[in-house]
């Protein structure tokens, strides 16, 4: 099957493949994230509607037909926007995870038909110190350790990064050395505004995060973090981060002017590190030199063929042989891209 880009937008889901745009599927729904489950081929979408609420849709036939999850209920909390669907491990074919507002992780054990909250995080003793960001108190990042079936990570804005080593029963904050400049303590136990958290699959003790207050890397499963945005990045602020699938030292970010939420220096500037974040270089050949359209937290993805990004102006760009090429343009504002 040809490489397909799943493009979640404010107005539905599009597919970009073989130079053509297909869609929208799920028209009218705002798709914060869509992903093809590599285990089954089923496509899952975190879908939200200003009138009709928040849910998850799934399609087992490549987007031809869709089923909506059973109503998602949270004991004592009200579900807000759904943000990210993460397929489970290979030996748990029916398990998926869902991150949502208000700072909740949900689990499905029936292929996404029903969801229930992971109580160890919902009832976390620090929850009263968590605060919502502009996107609500969203759980937007879910990362599974490929070497340890009991370990996984989530990141919540603005609560920080949390790790479980016991399959979700208990969660420990993993925010040491991570700044929260908007917080009276600056380095609190929780309350950090993580924008995107990723684990490197080839070196799972290594995590990266683009935070409201800097770019960080941890080489000890989140126990401590090093700040990386001092050498070559025009701004510490940004939303997405993308990792080379094989080389744990290579990452891309798209800095923004944090005060105005515009592209840094008025350009669509993608910055690359090849040395684990010690230095960063502009890597934007082919991208517009004057642009104010930003890339959101789910707006970058990377597979063996290279990275792809989607902008709020509705363009999809792919890096091919060192140069960015526009695969699609004039889509609705892009919320997410995934490769399948």
């Amino acid at each position: 099957m040809a490489r397909a880009v799943l493009v979640g937008t404010k107005k539905g889901l599009f597919f970009v493949r073989d130079g053509a745009v297909e869609g929208p599927e799920l028209p009218g729904w705002s798709v914060n994230h869509a992903v093809r489950d590599p285990r089954s081929g089923t496509i899952y979408a975190a879908t939200n509607h200003v009138v009709f609420g928040n849910t998850v849709h799934r399609s087992a036939d490549d987007g031809s037909t869709w089923e909506r999850a059973e109503p998602i209920e949270l004991d004592g909390l009200e579900l807000g926007e759904t943000w990210h669907v993460e397929p489970g491990r290979a030996d748990e074919p029916e398990r998926l995870y869902l991150g949502a507002v208000p700072g909740v992780l949900l689990r499905s054990d029936d292929g996404g038909r029903t969801w229930r909250s992971v109580r160890g995080l919902t009832d976390h003793p620090t929850r009263e110190r968590w605060q919502p960001g502009f996107g609500g108190m969203c759980c937007h990042s879910i990362q599974l350790d490929p070497d340890d079936d009991a370990r996984m990570y989530v990141a919540i804005s603005a609560a920080g990064t949390f790790r479980t080593d016991d399959g979700g029963e208990t969660w420990a904050p993993m925010n040491r050395n991570v700044a929260a400049d908007f917080h009276p303590e600056v380095y609190p136990e929780v309350g950090q505004c993580v924008h995107k958290l990723l684990l490197h699959p080839a070196r799972p003790e290594r995590l990266w995060q683009q935070n409201h207050c800097g770019v960080y890397r941890s080489d000890d499963r989140g126990e401590t973090w090093d700040r990386l945005d001092g050498n070559g990045l025009p701004s510490a602020f940004g939303f997405p981060i993308a990792l080379h699938p094989d080389d744990p030292d290579v990452a891309y970010v798209v800095p923004e002017d944090g005060d105005r939420r515009l592209t840094s220096d008025g350009r669509l500037g993608v910055y690359r590190t090849t040395d684990g974040g010690a230095s960063w270089q502009l890597h934007a050949d082919g991208l517009p030199e004057r642009a104010w359209s930003v890339v959101l937290r789910e707006g970058m993805a990377w597979d063996e063929q290279g990275p792809v990004l989607g902008t709020q102006a509705g363009s999809v760009w792919s890096l091919e042989q060192g140069r960015w090429h526009e695969l699609a343009r004039d889509l609705p504002p892009i919320l997410s891209v995934e490769l399948a």
Binding site: P27, G28, H49, V50, V51, F52, G53, E70, L74, E78
Partner: protein, 83 residues
């Protein structure tokens, strides 16, 4: 029988059907029978704030428990909101 008519986005969620006949005694019961009831009502069972309901052209948001007459036409309409 009364009939409940759905907007396009709800009809797609209901398997492509945009009209449902009902013998339900009240408007609330008629809406609760729909396969998209979870999109019309919030988890507390209240009509979502931006969902409007009309019975024979009359605003019925606050009359969910009134009897639903045979032959009534119910329209579910998304409020003018968003962008």
């Amino acid at each position: 029988m009364a009939v409940v008519r759905l907007p396009a986005i709800l009809a797609r969620e209901a398997g492509g059907r945009n009209a449902f006949e009902t013998a339900a005694p009240t408007l609330r019961a008629a809406l609760s029978e729909l396969p998209v009831a979870d999109l019309v009502f919030d988890p507390r069972g209240e009509l979502r704030p931006l969902v409007n309901v009309f019975v024979d052209g009359e605003d019925a948001r606050t009359k969910l428990d009134a009897p639903l007459g045979a032959g009534a036409e119910v329209r579910v309409v998304a409020a003018v909101a968003g962008g």
